[in-house]
Symmetry: C2
Subunit: 148 residues, 2 copies
């Protein structure tokens, strides 16, 4: 995400926080900017390292708390297979997250489908399983890494 877009995102999030009565604090702003500025999913300790360039010797909970906050409010996703975090690129709420993850360059492309694919939905119905959230992580090679 380029600087301009990061700026916009910060504004959107700040507005959201104000509206919802939550605080858009310094550590939160920094973490948001760091994750947004990264061109690929970024791990908590890498976030923490970057945070160290902006705050005085921050500790893991500082990063993790901000991450948790943004995950809960739908501004970030955790990518389980990478132990890494990424900005949500859907401007609307969605019930699950789905990513195409390039194993060469490490970039993750969010597909943000609105609903669970029909095949999977059929299985949950058949099992009497009630879905509260879901994620799909598709590994492979992105276009850029296929045609170098």
């Amino acid at each position: 995400m380029n600087k301009q877009d990061v700026k916009k995102l910060v504004q959107v999030v700040e507005a959201y926080c104000t509206k919802e009565g939550m605080r858009f604090t310094d550590p939160r702003r920094h973490v948001l900017e760091i994750v947004a500025a990264s061109d690929k999913p970024i791990g908590a300790y890498d976030i923490l390292a970057r945070l160290g360039e902006r705050l005085d010797n921050p500790k893991p909970p500082t990063a993790y708390r901000a991450i948790e906050f943004f995950e809960q409010h739908g501004f970030m996703h955790r990518i389980e297979s990478l132990n890494a975090y990424v900005i949500c690129y859907a401007d609307h709420r969605h019930e699950g997250s789905q990513f195409m993850i390039c194993d060469v360059c490490g970039k993750a492309i969010e597909t943000h489908l609105c609903h669970l694919p029909a095949d999977l939905m059929a299985r949950t119905r058949a099992e009497g399983f009630v879905v509260s959230g879901w994620s799909a992580e598709i590994h492979g090679r992105c276009r850029d890494c296929l045609n170098p």
Copy 2:
């Protein structure tokens, strides 16, 4: 998985190993049995603890190596959102794994679809992304935990 089924699985895996020229060693057999006997996905250190009832003071690599072996050969899956491992219930090879995971009882039901759902496949095509593997983890409540 009941004792009878565990026994069968061990035989299947042993036969596979023999056929493929790999060794079905003691630690591997124990780890397979432990994971198979668990009624839900089990973490590496829980496997290790159980292993301690059968071997003399086993160390993490002993568990992890066996897990890795079975993952590579399609007999186990890792469930990323739980950091836990489970026996594959598909008797055929599949390109991805999909689970319905009950957040109440912790059980995981494998759906083993053979192919990436169409919606997701369409997105990968549109992106020029070549898939090498994928997984879906669907959280919610299982039938038993809905009607207690």
